[in-house]
Symmetry: C2
Subunit: 141 residues, 2 copies
């Protein structure tokens, strides 16, 4: 990794990430939000910075099937996101950082039965979180 400079632009982006921790957002979201504060940030700069943060493991990058764009999520509390598994609520997009031990047994079986060694950092379990399930219940009534 190259030496990192602390630029005004970069700080503005990280500022946005902090304010939007544990939420999904797109490159466009970052661009709009930062520029709304009077900056003149360029798309390419956003992509380059987000890419770098992903490399460093400070940001999770994933694809959303619904919208035609890459989504990101930031977390300060969980160290590098490359070494643990994630779960995502398919309704609200929220991401959970899982303890790998949850999958240890399953990993052994998958290895034994299918010959596949799990990459924890890349795997995302999909489901519905409690809050969204409540909301769905209300809607259904």
């Amino acid at each position: 990794m190259k030496n990192e400079y602390k630029t005004k632009t970069r700080l503005a982006i990280v500022e946005f990430l902090r304010e939007n921790a544990d939420t999904r957002f797109t490159a466009r979201d970052v661009l709009n939000a930062v520029n709304k504060l009077g900056n003149n940030l360029d798309r390419s700069t956003v992509y380059r910075n987000l890419e770098r943060l992903c490399m460093e493991g400070r940001l999770v990058k994933y694809r959303e099937t619904d919208i035609n764009a890459t989504c990101y999520q930031y977390s300060e509390e969980h160290g590098s996101c490359h070494d643990h598994m994630h779960a995502q609520c398919s309704e609200c997009g929220r991401i959970f950082h899982l303890d790998n031990s949850v999958l240890d047994d399953a990993a052994k079986r998958i290895k034994a039965e299918y010959g596949l060694e799990i990459n924890y950092g890349k795997t995302v379990i999909i489901g519905v979180c409690d809050e969204c399930k409540e909301l769905d219940g209300e809607k259904a009534d």
Copy 2:
């Protein structure tokens, strides 16, 4: 669903799917493969047909984080792919249809500890399969 016509083009696409069952592919893959056989298939036609097949549940559609495109996967043998979990080799793209029991314990813990109910049909475990691991080993030498 509208009435379906059996056109030469549509048959050519399904032919490709059959030959590439249990593998990931993009719209571009379909286009190239079919046209390599001397056809004059158009992008838009590919997208429209893949979309229809997804609607019918014959095709799974998902996003790949690495490449910047939508991926699809076709399976004839496993019934609806909406009810069981999948695992995918990140190297070769091969897809494994898992027995849901593999994840039962993990599912319980995730539900208890994180409040997330797993959607088996949508979840894809990422890893590296034995064959690709061997190849990687050879490359590294």
